[in-house]
Amino acid sequence: MASYWWLLQKDLLTEYRARQSWPTMALLGGVVAMVFSLQAEGTDAVRQSLLGTMLWIATFFAAMTGLDRAFALERQDGCWDGLRSYPVHSTTVFLAKFTSHVLALGLLQALLTPLFIVLCHVAWHAPWWATLLVAALGNFGIAAVGTLVGALTSGMKHGGGMLVVVVLPLSVPVLLAAAEATRLMSAGQCDAAWWRWINLLAAFAIIYLTAGAALFEFVVED
């Protein structure tokens, strides 16, 4: 457990000092929010229905930028080799990296959600607990699969492109479920249909987190 906190602290401290990944993510998310909101025309209902999709697409592409930068930083100056030689199980490394990405995505959404609401002129009827639940489960799914594939593609030629090519189709079920759940809850409909999307989100978050923890051992071999 101590190793997990040290690794998490190392990632957060590196980001605090370098300020490379998180500001890039915030900037990209903000620009995407601006561009989408410029195109979001029509009635209130139409804009409300598009809000979830736009928010999660912006989150996804910003997340990919962050993941690519995070693993590129690890590859610099032999940091990755140092991490591999550190006497700790690979699952702990995965969980620490996963947590730092979840935190990054959480902060990004704390910024993007009000930005989208303001720019698209829509009302937000979702209760706070539902907003937190959807954000947490969606971010868990994206961060789990993103961390695993980000580590896989980090040393590869065209690694950044490969990351998006592999993670996007794997994340589509998570993005669809999160976008639908966001659309329903933003209209204040936390009903049975909403819970069905939450179940799907939870299932993918658990499956990807378990698969990531189990397979990360094979990822950190080189």
């Binding site: 593609t153 189709p169 794997l170 079920p173 397979l215 094979f218």
Partner: protein
């Protein structure tokens, strides 16, 4: 008769048997199966559509299984099976989407709709595209095998979603429609026929990849 000639004769016999099976399958689909009352001739697409969908899903599962075996045993032959199954699975999933689209045009009046099973199948096909692209971007055979195995295992997690999509999300896709016995027999023949042809092609492709590896030609540029 030397080993090489015997192997050539065995392959020729299996080729002829496969060709006869495919011919029998198409005769059964176009002449033996009765015309469906509501959709007419277009319904015959279903015999090919279900068979290629089955092969596509099976290909994805075999790719993941062979990938898992590679991770456990580090035997490059497992990776060759994974690649052969992935290529065939990709083609079959693509054919599923094309035949499904042709059927949807007649049944639903659109070439494409974001129906749960269509969407999940499309996602699986894009995952398979990603898998093949990742393979093509790695030169070292063992690194390629390891990375591809992880992607294949993650990709196979979409297979239950494809199978259960109609039940979980109440889509428009027909689920276990009632058929008369002749139609069911033709469908069974089609599924068995496509499965045997798939097994033959995947085995042959695996042999080709094995020979490429022995000759030192396992570079992606020679595989695609």
């Amino acid at each position: 008769m030397d080993t090489c000639t015997a192997s050539f004769h065995r392959r020729s016999i299996s080729d002829v048997m496969c060709a006869l099976l495919v011919a029998a399958m198409f005769v059964a689909i176009f002449w033996l199966a009765p015309e469906e009352q509501t959709m007419g001739e277009v319904q015959r697409i279903m015999y090919v559509h279900i068979a290629v969908a089955w092969c596509g899903l099976l290909g994805s599962l075999i790719t993941a299984g062979a990938g898992l075996l590679y991770l456990l045993r580090r035997n490059i032959v497992c990776d060759q099976w994974a690649q052969a199954a992935a290529e065939w699975g990709w083609l079959c999933c693509g054919l599923t989407l094309v035949t499904g689209s042709l059927w949807a045009r007649e049944a639903w009046g659109v070439w494409w709709t974001w129906e749960p099973r269509l969407t999940s199948m499309f996602i699986l096909w894009t995952i398979q595209c990603g898998y093949l692209l990742v393979r093509a971007n790695l030169d070292d055979p063992h690194r390629r095998a390891r990375v591809a195995a992880v992607v294949a295992i993650l990709g196979a997690l979409d297979v239950p979603l494809v199978v259960m999509a109609t039940r979980w999300f109440r889509g428009m896709h027909p689920e276990a429609p009632t058929m008369e016995p002749t139609m069911r027999a033709v469908l069974a023949l089609s599924v068995i026929g496509f499965s045997l042809v798939s097994a033959g092609l995947v085995t042959r492709r695996r042999g080709q990849l094995g020979r490429q590896h022995q000759l030192g030609l396992a570079d992606p540029a020679h595989s695609y």
